[in-house]
């Protein structure tokens, strides 16, 4: 499948929203003139054969190393499987981002195991923490390992191939009854970080909990996420990547594309379809179709963006 197979005026916003999907072998998205369009389901293997773009990077999320309950008694094993898929990719991604919940209980041994497995990908990894990585009393372990050179509880930004990446932390100082939280200090930093940047700079923001309100009844959203998005107004291409909800979900709002990644550990139910957002036990044969990784391609200049979700098994 090539991008040229599709006419420019083909896909309505309604159609784009219909493409929010939980399943399939992968969804390829392109950003054209600021309007994201779904190119529909693609075969993962063929998607991997797309011509090398300007920048390809990977997203991995919610490894929960240490989790051993019925939903997946071997979360370490499925993380290894994910890393093996990464090692086998025909085009080596520039780097990887991990959108949190590296560990299940913030134990040193869990972080050790995660590092040992993830390092086998031989990729640079940029981390943000999930709430499961901040369970030790004084939140030392995450910061010591992954927080070097970051600010506050672990936020930072960097540039790659003309794309500006911003890693945010929305899992600290959570208020009773509320959602995820960024806090005034981080929001002020973000505004400064974006100030003066050309509006044509593609921006990728990544955080653990969705910045958009997916399902507040389950805490799936960020209380002050709207203020972060205010700072991103005016940029032609903004992509927001997160984990936390362990399923693929996509939303397009103006120039902003929101995308959640699968977990490598266990699936969670679609909003409102279960009594709680807890780990979802599925038939063993189905588990690997609900776990996976995402690769993101940019064609800078073309303002194109494609996100390919690859499950561990079809």
């Amino acid at each position: 499948m090539s991008l040229g197979d599709h006419d420019e005026n083909g896909v309505s916003r309604r159609k784009v929203l219909e493409c929010m999907t939980w399943a399939g072998t992968g969804v390829l998205w392109t950003l054209s003139g600021g309007v994201p369009r779904s190119l529909g389901l693609v075969d993962a293997a063929r998607a991997a054969e797309q011509p090398a773009p300007g920048l390809t990077f990977l997203q991995i999320s919610d490894s929960h190393v240490g989790f051993d309950k019925p939903a997946n008694p071997n979360a370490t094993g499925t993380l290894e499987e994910a890393v093996n898929r990464i090692k086998a990719m025909p085009v080596k991604p520039a780097f990887m981002i991990h959108t949190g919940d590296i560990s299940h209980l913030s134990k040193a041994a869990e972080f050790d195991d995660a590092d040992r497995i993830i390092s086998q990908s031989r990729l640079d990894v940029h981390y943000v923490p999930g709430e499961h990585d901040f369970l030790d009393e004084d939140v030392k372990l995450y910061k010591e390992r992954y927080g070097k050179g970051t600010r506050g509880s672990g936020w930072y930004s960097f540039d790659a191939n003309g794309v500006h990446f911003v890693g945010l932390v929305n899992v600290v100082d959570l208020k009773a009854g509320g959602l995820g939280n960024l806090g005034a200090e981080q929001l002020a930093w973000l505004e400064q970080d974006l100030k003066g940047r050309s509006k044509s700079t593609p921006i990728v923001v990544f955080a653990h909990i969705p910045l958009w309100t997916v399902y507040p009844q389950w805490g799936w959203g960020t209380e002050d996420g709207g203020r972060a998005l205010d700072s991103l107004k005016g940029f032609g291409s903004v992509t927001v990547l997160n984990g936390h909800i362990h399923q693929v979900m996509q939303k397009v709002e103006g120039n902003v594309t929101f995308h959640t990644a699968r977990s490598t550990a266990f699936p969670q139910p679609a909003p409102g379809t279960a009594p709680s957002p807890g780990p979802m036990k599925v038939e063993d044969a189905r588990l690997r179709s609900l776990l996976g990784i995402a690769s993101i391609d940019f064609k800078v200049g073309d303002e194109r963006l494609a996100i390919i979700d690859t499950p561990l098994a079809g």
């Binding site: 939903a71 959570l174 009854g177 509320g178 957002p277 807890g278």
Partner: protein, 105 residues
């Protein structure tokens, strides 16, 4: 004279009852499906509330400025004995949409 002795004993018994309630109870709250059950409990001063997490996901029990559990993994418990009357709102610091209330009378 017998009366004053009896009076004194009666007063001592009353003081004893007030200082150490005879029937301090332990009230159980469970965590299932990201919910504190029951969400609201009413207890007496001196009673203990024990929270037990039955989920496969860790939770905490935090009442701002009053008490704070460690992270409760599956089947872990946390207990707190309430020494003063009042309304103790609490929540899970990992999943803040989870809230509960202990009313101490």
């Amino acid at each position: 004279m017998i009366q004053p002795v009896l009076r004194g004993a009666g007063l001592a018994a009353v003081l004893l009852v007030c200082a150490t309630p005879l029937r301090a109870e332990t009230i159980k709250v469970t965590i299932d499906n990201f919910t504190f059950t029951p969400t609201e409990v009413t207890v007496k001063v001196g009673d203990t509330v024990t929270w037990t997490n039955h989920d496969d996901i860790p939770h905490t029990v935090v009442s701002a400025g009053k008490y704070r559990s460690k992270t409760l993994d599956t089947d872990d418990s946390f207990s707190f004995t309430f020494a003063a009357a009042g309304d103790y709102k609490y929540f899970c610091s990992l999943h803040p949409h989870m809230t509960g209330l202990v009313k101490v009378e």
